[in-house]
Amino acid sequence: MITPTHYMLLSAALFMIGVVGVMMRRNIIIIFMSIELILNAVNINLVAFSNQFQNAIGQVFAVFVIAVAAAEAAVGLGIILAFYRNKETVNVDEMNLMKW
C-alpha cells in the first residue's frame, strides 16, 4: 500500500539530490538542471497530496510551479549566454568579475 509518506520520501530524496548537484558541481548549466530537479521534487509532493485529499488544488499549484520554472530557465539561460559572451567560461569558480 503506497501511502503519501512514500511520495514524501521520494520527494525528499530527489530534493537532496538536486541540492547536492547545486552545491557540488561547478558547471553553471548542471547547477540550473539541479534546480529543475528540486522543482520537480516539490511538484511530486504537491501532486501526492492532491491525490490524497482528492482535490485538484495541488495540481493547479504544480501547474504554476511548472510555469515559473519555465520562465526562470529561460531568463537564467539568457544570463548564461550573456556572461559567456563576455568571459568564455561556464565554471562558476571563474565567474568572479564582481569580486574585490
Binding site: 512514500h6 561547478r26 548549466i29 530537479l37 501532486v47 485529499f53 495540481q59 493547479v60 511548472i66 530557465a73
Partner: protein, 172 residues
C-alpha cells in the same frame, strides 16, 4: 500490489537518473538523463491520477525546457570540460556526508511526524463543479477560483520572454 510495483520501479528510475544528472561529466549526457527523469516523473503523475499535469510536464519540461538547455549547451560549445582542475579547498566527502545526514533527518521527520490528515479540507473550491475528469477539474479551478494567479503567470511568462530576448541579443 500493481501500484506498489509501479511506484517502486518508477521511483527507482527517477532517483537513478537524477543521480546520473548530477554526477555525469559530460553536459550533453546530463541533459539527456534529465529528459528521462522528467518522463518518469510524468509517469508518476499518471500513477497519481493527474493526467493533465503529466501531459503538461512532458510538453513544457521535457519538450521545452530541456530543448532550451540543449541549445545553450551547443551554443556554449565547451571545448574542454570545465571541471578538470580540482579545487584543493573543496570538501567533497564532507558535503556528501552532510547531505546524507539532512536526507536522514527529512526521512525521520516524514516517517515519525506524519499524523492524521485534516478531514474537511476538500470541500472549499469543489462546490459547484459540473464537470468530471482530471483535465476538466484542473481547468475549472484555473478559470474560476485561481483566475488571478493564472493571469499573473501569463504576465510572468511575457516578462521572462522579453527579458530572455534582451539578454541574449548581440547588440542592444
Amino acid at each position: 500490489m500493481g501500484q506498489a510495483i509501479a511506484f517502486y520501479t518508477i521511483s527507482a528510475f527517477i532517483l537513478g537518473f537524477a543521480l546520473m544528472v548530477v554526477t555525469t561529466k559530460d553536459t550533453v549526457h546530463s541533459v539527456l538523463f534529465l529528459v528521462l527523469d522528467f518522463l518518469f516523473v510524468a509517469a508518476l503523475y499518471v500513477l497519481l491520477g493527474a493526467q493533465f499535469l503529466a501531459v503538461i510536464q512532458i510538453l513544457v519540461y521535457a519538450g521545452g525546457i530541456v530543448v532550451l538547455y540543449l541549445f545553450v549547451v551547443m551554443l556554449v560549445n565547451l571545448k574542454r570540460l570545465p571541471e578538470v582542475h580540482e579545487d584543493p579547498h573543496r570538501r567533497t566527502r564532507l558535503g556528501l556526508v552532510l547531505a546524507a545526514v539532512v536526507l536522514g533527518e527529512l526521512a525521520m521527520i516524514t516517517i515519525l511526524g506524519y499524523g492524521k490528515p485534516a478531514p474537511a479540507l476538500a470541500n472549499a473550491a469543489a462546490a459547484a463543479m459540473p464537470v468530471s475528469g482530471n483535465t476538466q477539474e484542473v481547468g475549472w479551478l484555473l478559470y474560476t477560483s485561481y483566475l488571478i494567479p493564472f493571469e499573473i503567470a501569463s504576465m510572468l511568462l511575457l516578462v521572462a520572454m522579453i527579458g530572455a530576448i534582451v539578454l541574449a541579443k548581440r547588440e542592444l
